[in-house]
Each structure stands twice: as structure tokens, then as C-alpha cells.
Amino acid sequence: MSDAMQEIRASFFVECEELLESLQDGLQAMQDGATDTETVNIVFRAVHSIKGGAGAFGLDQLVMFAHSFETVMDELRAGRITADDNLLALFFQCGDLLLDLVRAARDDTELSEDQLAPVLKQLGEAVDLEPEDEEVDPAEFTPMALSLDLPGLDDMADLAEVGPPATPRYHIRFSPQHDLYTSGNEPLFLLRALRDFGQAQITCVVGDVPLIDKYDQAQNLLTWNIELESDVGEDMIREVFDFVDGLCKLSIEPMPQTGTDVLAPTLPDLDPPSAEDALPPLDTAPVDPAEPDPPAPEAETTEPAPPSKPASATTESGKSGGNSTAPKPTVRVDLERIDRLVNLVGELVINQSMLSQSVALSGLSGNSQIAAGLDEFQQLTRDIQDSVMMIRAQPVKSLFQRMARIVRESASDVGKTVRLRTEGESTEIDKTVIERLADPLTHMIRNAVDHGLESTEKRLEAGKPAEGRVNLTASHRSGRVVIEVSDDGGGINRPKVKSIAEEKGLIPPDQTMSDSDIDNLLFMPGFSTASEISNLSGRGVGMDVVKNAISSLGGRITIVSDPGKGTTFSISLPLTLAVLDGMVVRVGTETLVVPLSAISETLSLRAGDSRTLGPNTQVVPVRDSFVPLIDLGTELGYIAPRESYEGAIVLLISQENGDRAAMVVDAIEDQRQVVIKGLQDSYGHVPGVAAATILGDGQIALILDPIDLLTNASGRSRTETAPSAEPETAEVHP
């Protein structure tokens, strides 16, 4: 496959994803009651286009399945069947399978027959047709069928091989009817095409043409006789006349080879050309079909065709590429190029801040011209950065559609009727965030269907509709994207959750806990509420894994549950993984960045503000409550605990569940946007640290993950993450 074809193939798969998206939209609309032709057409077209493209790349399995699907859609379109719930369910299933097939084809694999067979069978039943009968469209082989009308041909071909090599000759009689001209066909081009096949002697019978005043366009007046010597085969010759079939009188007959005695007697079945046709009558004139005026007076034997393409074909192809009308003002760009741009802009941002710092250090910032220039530079840098980030942003729609499938599959697995409602599908978020959100979101959706919603019987008992609801929404909220998964199930069974946590030793027995504390137990490692492991969510993966996945994206997850009414999980995510608004602080000799989104306020402690609550616990009063004090320097192992917190600078950190902590730092240095550099790939996860960044002086500063730090700071983790815990065994290499 040429590079260009490879590229088209790659873009075909992208298009497939888009088509499948509109297919899902269409099916969803149908499920919501749409019955208009256009909706059905949208679905039909999506399947149809996938089939068309798949055919071009020889993706047979995809073509076969799309064809079966399309056949049923066509029946629906024609109103011969109706889209009841069963059929819609089948269509959704087909849509899912089609997606799987597209993905498989993209990866150069196929699905197993077992995966397709049941659905194909249902499709067949839906239209009461055997799928096999659908496969072959006999009309596609029309030219072959026609050639069967000439049984002698095969014999001739065999004999031709035995005899001396000679070019087959055909006699063609072609008289166009008026309709041929109105259909946009042009005899001249057909004759030229014939001439391109070989040696052609073309004569035009003009005797019937009356004088101009009696000329009637609607009459069939001209007839051409062509003697063609060519080895392209009769099929090719018939193909020339394919479009004018029925619009002309046409006969194509093989002729005896000139100068060969072998063939002539062996063609008894074929009528020899009539004398009238073979011999040009007096009133015929040979024509050069290259001339636009067929009844040219010059008698001239046609000669072998000149090259049909001009020599400048290659340069024109270049030009024609440029001439193409762009259907949409969009470009498809390799993601790597965008990432490179994102990185470069990141460098630019760092460079800009380094420059600002140098200017400040050299005392030049007093120069208003330089200061203004720098301001402008900073603004431009930020604008460029925002624009570049927007390139990576994508609507969450594709993600939501995947979840629609998860809901269907999970619901059918556990035998519940569930309806998914989505909202805010056009909300945009960084592509990487979308990709990495798929797994946690899948898990949450399964949880909602499996655990969140009650069984149908219980719902009916509670006076709820049998059909459970799962809502999936996305929205922008103060510079972040919030994704919510909610269900109208029974809510979190708090006494049960608490007793399970106690059983598992996650919490001491009889501890007094707030509702929200109990709800948050779900996020503890190793917690699972299902008393029996169900097929869906009980795979040993708990909500703690979901929480970690969200945290690694710089996101937070919270729960709100209303007993008897349902549960809502909210995920709040940064718009981009590339930059962050942060507060630059100093702790000991280290400089750190704290995400601004985590800081609710900054305070300076006065004497006596901090109170000792336990051996390792101190609290400070913030308005009317006490907030635990966390000394960042000690927490990170940078400095020893300080004697007094008098005058200490405190960042008040608020968690999304309302919990707060006061984080002690030595100084606040700056507040600015920083470029996020992952630590994960180069080093690994560091507790309490989200990532790193490069400051204006070229030094690396760590970006804190305050919530992670606070969660792990409660004494428990200190022992787990104690330094120098590297096991000796890790060093033994055979």
C-alpha cells in the first residue's frame, strides 16, 4: 500500500469513530422516540459509509458485518420493519460490535466468528432473510453474465492459444438513441476509448441524416461500425458501453482472424458479420473519432492510439492536489507534532520567566520600556500557551458514548433495566485526560449499575420506577472540569459500610464517624461493599484504584449520598495536564509549588495560635473551628520540627469533602503559572508530590499534591513511607 493509501486508511479509522459516534447519537434519538426518516438515515449512512471505506481497504469481515447491519437498516428505512425495543437493542449491540470490528481492523486483526455469529443470526431473523443470500449481489457481475450469452467464446480462446498468436478482432455496431445524448454520454469518447484498446477502423453511417431543416434530434440517426483489433477481451469492450446499455443499439461480435484458417471454421455458433456491415457502403465515411465532428469528409484509417494522457500528468497531479476544494476548514495533525508544540511552549514559558527574573535581578525592571515589553511578552506567551492547549482539548462525547455501552452491557449482565442520561457532552478537556479517564469512569459506571441501583423488585417496593437511572454529566466549573456520575438507587448503606470497614480492620470498632467519613471509606484500599462478588465490579478492583487514577490526573473525587434517593460521585479535573496555577513557597532550602486550587487562604500564626492535641497533633483555630497543623518541612523530611509556630506562614488547604488542614511553610515567594513536568516516567511516584516544574532560575521545584500529602500525613503513612526502606533483596542480581 502506498504511503498516501496508508494515510487514507488511518484517516478512515478516524472517520469510522466519528461515524460510530453519529450512529450512537442516531440510535439514542431513536430510543428516545425519534421516528423521522433523517434519524434512521443518519444511522444507515454511518453503517453504509463504514462499509464503503472498509471495502476499499479489503476489510472483509467489517464489510460483511456492515452489510448485514445495513440490510436491516434499509428494511427499516423502507418501512418494512419497525424499530421496536428488541430491534433497537439489537442495533445498539450491532453498533458496539461494529466499533469492535473497526478497532480490530485497525489493528490488523479480526473478531472470532463466535463473536459475530449470534448477532448476525439475529440480524438475519430481523428481516427474515438468510444472511448468506445477502452476500453476493449478482448485479455486480453483470459483464460476466453477459459474456455467457456467447458460449462460443471460450472455445475460441482455447483454440487461439493453440493456433498462431493473432490479435482477436471484433465487429462492433453502435447506434445511439436520443436518450444517450441526454444522459450526458458522448459517442465520441466511447469511440476514443475503443480506439485506445488497439487498431480500430471506425466508419460512420451518415446516409440517414436529413438536411438540417428536417433534422430531428429525437431520432436515432447515426450508426458507427467499428472493426477493432485488440486483445483486451470482450468484457473490457462491453465495459465501454456499460453506461449506454439500453440507450443504444449495440452488437459486439468476434470476427474471424484475418490470415488464419484455424479459427474461421470453428465458430459455427456465431453469426458471421453481414456483408452489409463488413463492407463499407458507398455512403459511409471513415471517421477519426478524435475529431469533434464525426462526419468528417476525409477518408482516413485510424491509427494506433496516441498516449491518452498528456506528458505533464505528474505536474498536474501536484497542481490538482492544490486545487481541491477543502470540504471543511480543519486539518488533521499527528498528535506527536502537537505534543512537541506543547513542550516547546512549555520551554517558552520557562524561558520567559527566566528572562523576567534576570531582568529583575539586573535592576532593569525600572525601565518602563523594558517592563512594558516584558509584560507584553508574558501576555503573548500565555496566549500562545492557551491556544496550544486548546488544540489538545476534545469534547468528552466519545468518552460518554463508551460509557453508554458500559451501561448497556452491565445492565444486561445483572438483569436490570437502566437508562443512561448524559449531559454536557460537548465539554472539552485535554485528550490525555479523556483517555486516562476511561478506565476509572468505566468502573464507576459499572458500580452505579451493579451496586448503586437496587434490583427491579426493590425499586418497585420503594415506589420507584422499575427503570433505574444513571446520569453522566460534564461541565466547566471555575477553571476545572467536573464530571458527575449519579444514580437514583438506594444510596450508600452507611451502617453496612461501617461494619464492613470494622470487620476488615480498616477502622477501630465503635468509632464515631460523620456520614461523609463513612462514605469515604469506600475509597480505602481493599474495601468492597458487595457481600458477594458480582461479575461486574467485584474483580478485586475497588474505588481506591479509581481514586488513585483520578489523583494521578490531578483530579479529586467526592461522594454525596442520599439514603433511598441515590449516590453522586463528582470528579473534578484540571483542564490540562500541561500547566497549573501555583503558589511558589519555600520550605527549608527547598522551593515547592502548591496548586492554587487547593489553597483556600493564607494565614500568619500568632503566638499561642497552635494548640497541642496529641503527641504528634497540633491544631490551629481558623475562625470557629480547629484545623490540624501540618509542618510541610518535617512532613517531607526536609527539616526537623520547629520549636514554635509563632509567626509561621500557613496555607489553608481545603479538600473537596470539606476537610481542611493548615500547612506550615517558611515563606511564600510567588504566585504563577508553572509548566507541569511528570516525575512518573523518569523516577516514579513520590508520595505527596504530583509532579515537578522548572522555575525561572532553571532549578526544578516539586509540585505538591496537598490532598495526597494530608491523607497520608495522618500518622499511618509515615511508617509506610519511611525513608531508606529500600529492601536489600532489590539489589541482588543473579
Binding site: 513542550n343 512549555g346 520551554e347 520557562i350 527547598e590 522551593t591 512532613e635 517531607l636 523530611g637 526536609y638 513536568k677 511528570g678 516525575l679 512518573q680 516516567d681 523518569s682 523516577y683 516514579g684 511516584h685 513520590v686 508520595p687 505527596g688 508530590v689 515537578a692 522548572i694 532553571g698 532549578q699 526544578i700 521545584a701 516539586l702 509506610e720 513511607t721 519511611a722 525513608p723 531508606s724 526502606a725 529500600e726 529492601p727 532489590a730 539489589e731 541482588v732 542480581h733
Partner: protein, 159 residues
């Protein structure tokens, strides 16, 4: 990327082997030159909380975050505080870049792979766990580092 695999067992390599030799304390070590990306002067590293003691921290390598291992600490040798004269050898191990802080770079040495010998079995000596082969040059013993053993993998350091 096969260069990073080479130092694991250089004795299987045929023909010439080029080594970058350097000093750590009083000892001389070397690594396969194919795994060396660059050598740069010491800059202050940003320390990582909860990191193993031999991880000095991370430095900015032209916009990338580069973890730096103090080789003396890693090998259990006497440690001096880093000075301006120290260097960081940036190596590639299994597709990851890691900086090794050493005292000074000495030389580039060529050996026939047949000149290399396996290290003696001295399990008690911690520093030998990181040596994949030895050779003698002008009466000096040159130790070839097993880079894969020196560099902790991300799972080991993740708490």
C-alpha cells in the same frame, strides 16, 4: 535500544568494548560508552521526599526532569559532599535516563571482550553486587558497573 543492555554482560560481546572510566572515592569504575548520553557538571539537585538515601534528587536537563543517583552512596563507599568538580554522567538504562554523580571522569578505555573476567564471588561486599565484570589495565583494577542493578526501577522507589 540495545545499548542499554550491553553493559549487563559485556563478556558476551564480541570484539572491542569501549568503556568510560571514572572515579568514585578511591575506586575506579566504568560503564559501556554506548549507554552514556552525556557528561555534565554538578548542579544542585532538588531533593525528593521519601526517596532512597542514594537518590540525590532531580535536576533540570534541558527541560527534562533527570533523577540523579549518588554512586558513592549507592555503592556503599565513603561519601563526600558534592563539589563543583564533580560530574554527572547521564546514562540510558532500559530507555530511561538517569544521572550518576561521580567524583571525576578519568578516561575512555578500549578492551577486547576476552580481557574481561567475571567478578569474584564476594557477596559480603555490597559494592560488588553492582559489578558485572572486571579487567586489569596497567595494574589498575577497572570495575564494570551493572547499570540495571545500580538504577532502582520505578516500582522499587514508589512507596
Amino acid at each position: 535500544m540495545t545499548s542499554s543492555d550491553a553493559p549487563k554482560d559485556p563478556t558476551t560481546e564480541n570484539g572491542e568494548l569501549e568503556l568510560l572510566s571514572f572515579r568514585v572515592g578511591e575506586s575506579e569504575y566504568s560503564v559501556d560508552i554506548m549507554s552514556v548520553r552525556e557528561i555534565r557538571g554538578w548542579t544542585r539537585a532538588t531533593s525528593l521526599p521519601h526517596a532512597p538515601h542514594y537518590v540525590r534528587g532531580v535536576i533540570n536537563l534541558r527541560g527534562a526532569v533527570l533523577p540523579v543517583i549518588d554512586l558513592a552512596l549507592r555503592l556503599g563507599l565513603d561519601v563526600t559532599e558534592p563539589t563543583e568538580r564533580n560530574v554527572i554522567i547521564v546514562i540510558d538504562v532500559d530507555g530511561r535516563s538517569i544521572g550518576l554523580r561521580v567524583d571525576a571522569v578519568s578516561d575512555i578505555l578500549s578492551f577486547a571482550s576476552t580481557d574481561l573476567q567475571p567478578p569474584p564471588d564476594m557477596a559480603a561486599d555490597r559494592s560488588h553486587a553492582f559489578v558485572s565484570a572486571l579487567t586489569i589495565l596497567d595494574g589498575r583494577m577497572i570495575r564494570i558497573l551493572d547499570l540495571a542493578a545500580v538504577v532502582p526501577d520505578t516500582h522499587d522507589v514508589a512507596a
